[in-house]
């Protein structure tokens, strides 16, 4: 496969097993993500796709192999930022404070932090809800706030762990379109973990499939349809079918 862009993130023969466990969850993972590229990682439950994401985020150490992460660029940014499935908003912080959670320690002044929070709240269309507590907003809004919290640190790669799987279908399609619009506006790569094939095919430029015990990447292809995509596009559906077969 030809690399369209310079690799931003590279996994080199990466494997993981839980501490004290002989059996690898996955091993021999070799793939890279280019700057600004949108990659979906698909797999059944228990295949370790969220664990891959945690390794990439630096939250856990892989047992084998090496992960080349993006260098820290400039003031006020982090190389990567995570969006969790369970939103993980801190209930004791108002929405604004949740969005600004990753901004401390980045050398930003209070004014710069406030401006950054306003900017991303605006981006997710929640500019007027910053004073609310997390329990006062809907599930879809909470997911948007989780996204805003990650965007606020201007990551080079956004790591999304099944971010839309806990919201209703209507909200999900809306959030997917919002994510695409934001991704196209900001120059950042996305690693999107999901078990939903249609979602992966609709969103990503490239889809990777993990399968087996221990799991490996068994499928890694570009999505043929250009943006903007139609959900009922024939090429897209044919591609989704091939992903399903690989699973």
């Amino acid at each position: 496969m030809s690399e369209r862009r310079d690799a931003l993130l590279t996994l080199d023969d990466v494997g993981y097993r839980y501490p004290g466990n002989e059996r690898f969850v996955f091993e021999g993972l070799d793939f890279s993500i280019g700057a600004g590229e949108f990659v979906a990682l698909v797999g059944g439950s228990g295949v370790g796709k969220s664990t891959v994401l945690r390794c990439v985020a630096g939250l856990i150490e892989p047992a084998t192999g090496h992960i080349e992460t993006p260098p820290r660029t400039g003031k006020g940014s982090r190389p990567s930022a995570v969006v969790f499935q369970d939103t993980r908003l801190l209930p004791w912080r108002r929405i604004r404070a949740n969005v600004g959670y990753g901004l401390s320690g980045l050398g930003l002044s209070r004014g710069e932090r406030d401006a950054r929070i306003d900017e991303v709240l605006d981006l997710i269309g929640m500019a007027d809800l910053g004073k609310r507590w997390p329990h006062e907003i809907s599930g879809g809004q909470a997911q948007r706030v989780g996204l805003a919290r990650a965007l606020a640190v201007r990551p080079q790669i956004l790591l999304m762990d099944e971010p839309f799987s806990a919201v209703d279908a209507l909200t999900r399609t809306r959030l997917q379109d919002e994510l695409l619009a934001i991704w196209q506006r900001l120059n950042m790569a996305v690693l999107f973990v999901t078990h939903d094939i249609a979602e992966a095919a609709y969103l990503a430029e490239r889809v990777c499939v993990m399968r087996g015990t221990p799991a490996r990447v068994v499928f890694d292809e570009r999505v043929p349809s250009p943006y903007p995509r139609q959900r009922d596009d024939a090429d897209l559906n044919a591609f989704a079918q091939r992903v399903a077969d690989a699973l």
Partner: protein, 268 residues
């Protein structure tokens, strides 16, 4: 409900809420009146050894006497000194030790056995040492009070800290709050706050319970006044101090509840 009134019948709802509140008030007062009536009957028919049940209707007079005699306010003030010091020291130490126990494994392992040995000892058992070390003094009473308060806060803090959802710590690491200090302030303390504060509030009550007992031994305060009043058969004065304790406890607990609600207003 998010505080929105029912749009269909806002007046009817308000009316019903008002009626229900009135009913509660009336029944509550009726309960108190019934108790006083029973008390009066006990007094008239001598249900206890003669002279040990005061006439409820002379309690207001006794209150006036205690006040005019210059005993009531100094006793309250003295008790508050023990209370504030004992509560403050016990709360602070209980919080710190509980926090350490739940966040430092070495500390936890080194202290759990000691805690298990010391925990069952009732605070009042320490009175003997309080007298030996501090004589009959404010410090001695505060010491005894602080012991009971310490344990309440120790357990509340330790269990609150242990129960903080570990997923929040992962979030903290992902967003640059992985260091000890940032983790404690941004996750541990706010996450454990409901338990810590409820422990503190229990301590506010617990301190009163031990306060009076500690003072019965002769340290100036309401407990001592009760003891000396009982010594001369002035049981109506004893009741005055009991009611004073009840009133001050209600005030301090209500005050703390305000602080607690303010600090935890993020809760649904």
């Amino acid at each position: 409900m998010l505080g929105r009134p029912n749009r269909a019948h806002p007046n009817a709802l308000a009316l019903r809420a008002g009626a229900s509140r009135l009913r509660r008030l009336v029944l509550g007062l009726a309960g108190v009146a019934a108790f006083i009536a029973l008390w009066k009957l006990a007094y008239i028919f001598n249900w206890a050894p003669r002279g040990t049940i005061p006439d409820p209707f002379t309690v207001p007079v006794a209150l006036l006497n205690e006040y005019r005699g210059g005993r009531l306010l100094p006793a309250i003030a003295s008790s508050l000194v023990h209370y504030v010091w004992g509560l403050g020291i016990g709360t602070l130490l209980g919080f710190v030790v509980g926090l350490l126990a739940a966040s430092l494994r070495v500390f936890d392992e080194a202290h759990y056995m000691l805690a298990r040995i010391l925990r069952p000892i009732p605070p009042l058992a320490w009175v003997v040492f309080a007298i030996a070390w501090f004589q009959v003094s404010h410090a001695g009473a505060a010491f005894v009070i602080s012991i009971g308060v310490f344990w309440v806060n120790y357990f509340a803090t330790a269990s609150g800290v242990r129960d903080v959802d570990p997923r929040y710590y992962e979030l903290a690491r992902a967003f640059g709050h992985g260091g000890f200090f940032k983790r404690i302030t941004s996750i541990t303390l706010p996450g454990a706050a409901p338990s810590i504060l409820s422990g503190m509030r229990t301590g506010v009550g617990q301190a009163w319970m031990t306060l009076i007992a500690a003072e019965l031994l002769g340290v100036p305060g309401m407990g001592q006044e009760m003891n000396s009043a009982a010594g001369v058969g002035a049981y109506d004065a004893v009741v005055v101090y009991m009611l004073a304790i009840s009133l001050i406890y209600t005030l301090s607990d209500g005050l703390f509840a305000l602080v607690e609600n303010r600090a935890l207003r993020w809760r649904p």
